[in-house]
């Protein structure tokens, strides 16, 4: 006899009754699944009197069951760890109780079947959480069997540190020789930020002859863009930078969304313009730009492997990836590139990139270790012109935590203006490399 699976049976003609049954079962199971969706949570009881009351009652009950006694029985001075299930319908159920030796991360066993023999009022008192308590960290949650993703305040704290590090600073003073400079008065809601170049558009450090000076807070920054030429520019540049004019930038970044607009106007204080090419007085610059992107940060756990220790007994542990936080950004960037001349203090526009060529996709990936010993950030803009940048900082001397050494890399391919004309103009920024020293306090 041929075996018929359930799908085939369902597909069989005239088998409506079975189909109905299966649909009904599926429907009911889904319903039950959704109504029983629960939130799990756990905590350490800080009320020592309550902990003692519970553990005394538990140990008294345990004495009646000699065969259940073991070396891992709790002590009366232990801390209590409680976990509960909160049903979406508002039903609260005790999940587990454990005890922990104070100041040691060693848990003792509390037998579930014995808890049910204790006074219900005592259990209710514990569940009601009308006392001081402390959250459990990720490892402690796992220990009590909560493996699902729990929104944890410890994670929020480190995610905030990461966002700060890449948005403004997670310190009060952050100054790098690439002329990124942030002063954030202690516990104040604002800071002062100075940035050379146009990093939010992929033209970092020396790739743009501009400097932005402004104020910044947790979510917003606003700055004045001014022309700026470093005296040692020629020693580090192999290509041609963007020219700088007066303008402004306004940006924002929340936990999930960020954006920025910049504007530069060559007709403001034109007589102060210092051309890169004195022979032609030509300029390449970005009159207007806008970014919009998704941003988020994630905690990454340490990766390590056990290795044989040749000079000692046992195995040693080698860290292969330090714990830290990953910051990602992805979005769309618009920047119009314009080419023109300044003749007798008069601005003459010759060309600019069209709408499609002005749009690029932006991706950014940053990582900072928990101990802030390393930080790396890469940014790529894909479009008719690709720009990429890489920043790296490392703390080399542990006793000098305020000092970091690193480098900045920035590269963009060339853009040709007026390709069909007799005299096409090529802007080629090429690669810029700059070693840096960063001081943080």
């Amino acid at each position: 006899m041929r075996k018929v699976n359930i799908v085939e049976r369902l597909l069989m003609k005239n088998n409506y009754r079975l189909t109905k049954k299966v649909i009904l079962i599926l429907f009911l199971s889904l319903g039950i699944t959704f109504t029983q969706t629960t939130e799990m949570t756990g905590w350490i009881v800080n009320d020592t009197e309550l902990s003692k009351e519970f553990l005394s009652a538990y140990l008294d009950t345990l004495e009646n069951y000699d065969h259940l006694m073991s070396d891992q029985d709790p002590q009366r001075d232990d801390n209590l760890i409680v976990s509960i299930d909160i049903n979406r319908d508002g039903l609260i159920k005790l999940r587990k109780i454990k005890s922990q030796i104070p100041d040691e991360k060693v848990s003792n066993t509390v037998i579930d079947s014995l808890i049910s023999k204790l006074a219900p009022s005592l259990i209710e008192k514990i569940i009601s959480r009308k006392y001081s308590w402390t959250e459990l960290n990720k490892d402690e949650l796992i220990e009590i069997g909560i493996r699902q993703e729990v929104r944890n305040i410890f994670q929020e704290r480190s995610a905030k540190t990461t966002r700060d590090a890449f948005w403004w600073t997670n310190r009060e003073f952050d100054m790098s020789s690439d002329l990124r400079f942030v002063i954030r008065p202690y516990k104040s809601t604002w800071g002062i930020i100075v940035e050379q170049g146009l990093p939010s558009l992929g033209y970092d450090i020396l790739s743009s002859r501009t400097i932005s000076i402004g104020v910044i807070n947790e979510i917003t920054k606003v700055g004045l863009i001014t022309p700026w030429i470093l005296p040692y520019e020629s020693a580090l540049l192999s290509g041609r930078p963007l020219d700088g004019f007066w303008g402004f930038n306004l940006g924002f970044e929340t936990q999930y969304l960020g954006g920025e607009i910049t504007y530069q106007d060559p007709s403001i204080l034109t007589d102060g313009f210092k051309p890169y090419d004195n022979n032609t007085n030509s300029f390449f610059f970005i009159p207007i730009s806008a970014n919009i992107y998704y941003s988020n940060s994630f905690a990454l756990r340490e990766r390590s492997k056990y290795i044989d220790s040749k000079n000692r007994f046992g195995t040693g542990k080698k860290q292969i990836f330090p714990s830290g936080n990953l910051s990602i950004k992805a979005g769309l960037s618009y920047r119009q590139l314009s080419h023109g001349n300044v003749i007798d203090n008069k601005i003459i526009y010759l060309n600019h990139t069209d709408l499609l060529d002005s749009f690029r996709f932006l991706f950014e990936l940053g990582y900072i270790t928990d101990d802030e010993a390393y930080s790396i950030n890469s940014r790529v803009f894909f479009g008719s012109q690709t720009s990429s940048s890489l920043t790296f900082d490392k703390r080399f001397i542990n006793s000098a935590k305020f000092l970091k050494v690193g480098f900045r890399l920035n590269w963009s391919n060339s853009v040709t203006f007026g390709e069909s004309s007799e005299n096409p103009q090529i802007w080629e920024p090429k690669l810029v490399f700059m070693p840096t020293i960063t001081v943080v306090f």
Partner: protein, 413 residues
């Protein structure tokens, strides 16, 4: 106009007599400090701990109600308490003077010690708040009242003849705005033939400027004694651009930039123009807020603030003909930059409504604006703006004196 403004100030001072004591006990500002939590992740965590944990575990506790997404969340820290686990003294949440208070005892039940420390650390987006120090409900409302020129709102939706602002239901810290006028830059609705579409945050707004002629709102020219909905249509070139508003460290500003035509073909796209057109390439101002009169903790007063600053504007004046064989067009820049000043007045927040909001704005050698909004209820306000243009060049495309009437609806969802 000046007489009217002086009368308004006198009316305001007369109104500063009446106040009702609140059932909520105010706190001593020497013993406590307080601030609002603006970081969305931290807010959500507080909401979870109160709404989905404490309220479920203790449904019988009617004194602790659910936090709503538009509520202000105010943290009170005790300055006298040295134990960091006990410094979080109270948590207030609510709007318009109606607050739920979570006392110290319940804080230790609702929030774990680590979270309490995290909140006290203030290492997140927060704003200073004096709400808890006011002895009367009116004082609390006055302190947290967001006037007509503020970027942000506590309400979910604002529909007005000047602006539409809708907060995202899933992200109450973000809103989408469509601006139909630029009063703080000196122009009434519909005149610039553009609208601004942008994202609104607590302290900033950023977005794009889009050409839009569909909003032909009638304004009244006092000199010509007639309504017109085509001011600027024949003279102003509207193009794509960007705009932004910010309020940072006591500095507030508005910026708007627009693309300009480079070829005669760009101008020919416009339906109608005279012998020359004006392109508003750059508009902006920066000012700093100084409170002249405001409610003290134990004494209610109307609010009067001044905003001294600077403004800058640039118009390109383009001819509609060119001799260039490639069609390139020449232009002349008309620059305005001078002192900017604004005086804002909000009537004493008494029991209920009406509530008057008014401001007078002067942009030296450019324009002046007197604006009066009568909030007849919590949800509805009627607004009247009177613009006067001072510059001769501006008068080429703007009437000398314009009256502009509008309304504002504030709603929650």
């Amino acid at each position: 106009m000046n007489k009217f403004f002086i009368a308004l100030l006198m009316f305001a001072s007369l109104c500063g007599q009446d106040e009702t004591k609140s059932t909520l006990k105010s706190l001593d500002p020497r013993k406590y400090e307080s601030w609002t939590v603006e970081d969305q992740k931290y807010r959500i965590r507080v909401e979870e701990l109160i709404n989905t944990q404490y309220r479920l575990i203790h449904p019988e506790d009617s004194l602790v109600s659910d936090i709503k997404s538009n509520d202000k969340l105010i943290i009170v820290r005790s300055l006298l308490e040295n134990n960091p686990n006990k410094q979080l003294y109270e948590i207030w949440y609510g709007v318009d003077g109606n607050y739920t208070i979570v006392p110290r005892e319940k804080i230790s039940w609702i929030f774990g010690t680590e979270f309490q420390k995290l909140i006290i650390e203030k290492n997140y987006f927060f704003l200073e708040s004096d709400v808890v120090f006011h002895s009367s409900e009116q004082g609390r409302i006055a302190n947290s009242f967001q006037n007509i020129n503020e970027i942000w709102t506590q309400r979910s939706l604002i529909i007005s003849t000047e602006r539409i602002l809708a907060k995202l239901p899933q992200r109450p810290d973000l809103g989408i705005a469509i601006n139909l006028s630029q009063p703080l830059l000196g122009y009434p609705k519909g005149v610039m033939n553009t609208i601004d579409v942008g994202l609104v945050l607590r302290l900033a707004e950023i977005g794009i400027q889009v050409p839009f002629k569909g909003y032909s709102y009638p304004t009244y020219s006092i000199k010509e004694s007639k309504f017109s909905s085509v001011i600027g249509d024949k003279n102003i070139y509207s193009g794509f651009g960007g705009y932004g508003r910010f309020n940072l460290v006591g500095l507030s500003g508005n910026i708007s930039v627009q693309s300009y035509p480079t070829n005669i073909k760009d101008i020919n796209k416009i339906e109608s123009f005279k012998d020359s057109i004006y392109v508003s390439t750059l508009k902006g101002n920066v000012s700093s807020k100084i409170n002249i009169i405001k409610s003290e903790f134990n004494s209610l007063k109307p609010t009067i603030s001044i905003y001294p600053g600077l403004y800058f504007q640039r118009f390109g004046k383009y001819s509609n003909t060119t001799n260039d064989i490639n069609g390139n067009i020449d232009h002349r820049n008309i620059n305005f930059s001078n002192f900017y000043g604004r005086v804002e007045y909000t009537s004493l927040i008494k029991r209920g409504f009406p509530r008057i909001e008014s401001f007078y704005q002067i942009m030296v050698n450019h324009s002046s604006l007197f604006s009066l909004t009568l909030n007849v209820s919590e949800n509805l306000g009627i607004r009247l703006d009177h613009y006067t243009y001072l510059d001769t060049e501006l008068k080429n495309f703007m009437p000398e004196s314009v009256l502009d009437l509008g309304f504002r609806l504030k709603l929650d969802y």
